[in-house]
Symmetry: C2
Subunit: 268 residues, 2 copies
């Protein structure tokens, strides 16, 4: 085992820095929303503009990156990554788990740590990982245009089975005893899982607006949509969403291709 | 926040029970290997045979499951799940993170907790989640036979780009300063990340044996394959692998469809 490094102690007072692609909310957005809600400032590579931030991301995830970039941390396979003093972390649910108790958005210990991680991993599986494959079912390194027929098939399945499955899951979390007073997923106060739900819904709704309209009207997921609206109206979140710090959806995870949502029986 | 429940204290002495499908190593295998290496007995629903274990899994993940099944825990969307006294957890990396420090396979606190989680999440992304989609690129609820052309395309990409990417990642973790003395991914002794690597390689190699043969011969990932062999020879693991407790690969995540590995240019 690696022994605790006394230098790490200083880390707790260091500023946070998010390393992520410029020009997309993407997975980085889950992390940004924690800082916004907590009122804690953070440095964001994407503020440096396209060229500088892309350079920094590529340097970090390059197979040639070494100790000069990663310090005393394991290498990073993909962004988002978080720098916090000497600490460098990657993998969205992992970064969130590190940050949330430090920002007052999750308990520091006990079974709640694992309950929250479970909820977050499930939401990200459905609304980020599976959703991503609706437009890239064959290869992340090929263009959408080159996998359009497969994207259409996968989207049909995602719309009909997976979105209802994961919305139903979120509603069940809200209906469970572990969701206490108030609109929150877990316990009696806002946690980072609620922020993850907000971004998951916001992005997936952007990608499949017609589908979401129908699902909203079904009345089956009222708790989920109420929580979504509650988060949207949190003062700090509301101000952030209206600002130009909130980046626009585009060619990232959450894309809106109207043809993926169209019922097109003739072509089948 | 939910207050710690005094009843939970008893939980630490309770036996562990894995809830998982019968007849497959699957994601449950990551969890089993921790118990095996630690020499800690566990109950396994899959020991109850196909019918009883399937019933138990379906009861747990059913949208109708309530407090009588889940207790004071959030609902479970998918298995594996772990029961430990009053605690019920799902999501493989989450269960591993809960178990590892309790079984002496990870530190209890500090940045190492997040470093290990990062490594495990990355390995599972590549060798489990992405691999699964090689045979089910369109829909998990449709048969492989109904998505074979897409499976072939996705496998080509997985073989050419993703397996080398994730093997390269694992080798970089081994080459980094955070991998200390010995063959281990992190620190100077075996952690649960090493067991995750073992199962990841073992399963992916079963699915794509020709590809792995070539990659082994390339000499680029010697540390990874050395670690794989080291784990395979751990006395408890070795005994387990030779026993009938180790279930055979079949129709689970890691499937061997020879046609997915064939270079078949004529059909393109």
């Amino acid at each position: 085992m690696i022994e605790p490094d006394p230098k790490r102690l200083k880390t707790e007072d260091a500023p946070y820095e998010l390393v992520y692609w410029h020009g997309l909310p993407g997975r980085g957005e889950f992390i940004r929303l924690l800082f916004v809600e907590a009122g804690v400032p953070w440095k964001d590579t994407s503020d440096k503009g396209m060229e500088a931030s892309t350079g920094q991301v590529l340097e970090l995830i390059s197979p040639d990156s070494g100790p000069s970039v990663q310090g005393k941390n394991p290498p990073v396979c993909a962004v988002p990554a978080l720098r916090h003093g000497d600490v460098l972390l990657s993998q969205t649910p992992n970064i969130l788990q590190y940050l949330a108790p430090r920002l007052g958005l999750a308990p520091k210990e006990g079974v709640a740590v694992y309950h929250l991680n479970q909820i977050v991993l499930t939401l990200i599986d459905g609304f980020v990982n599976e959703l991503h494959d609706t437009h890239h079912p064959i290869s992340v390194s090929a263009y959408y245009e080159d996998q359009k027929p497969e994207a259409k098939k996968r989207s049909k399945f995602f719309i009909e089975e997976r979105i209802p499955k994961f919305l139903g899951y979120a509603q069940r979390v809200l209906d469970a005893e572990t969701s206490g007073e108030g609109p929150w997923l877990y316990g009696d106060s806002l946690t980072y899982a609620d922020l993850v739900l907000f971004q998951s819904i916001d992005g997936t709704q952007f990608a499949f607006p017609k589908t979401f309209q129908k699902l909203k009207e079904s009345g089956k997921y009222d708790g989920v949509f109420k929580l979504y609206e509650t988060i949207k109206e949190r003062p700090a979140i509301k101000e952030y969403l209206a600002s130009d710090k909130r980046q626009k959806y585009g060619d990232g995870i959450w894309r809106h291709y109207p043809e993926l949502e169209e019922e097109d029986e003739k072509k089948e």
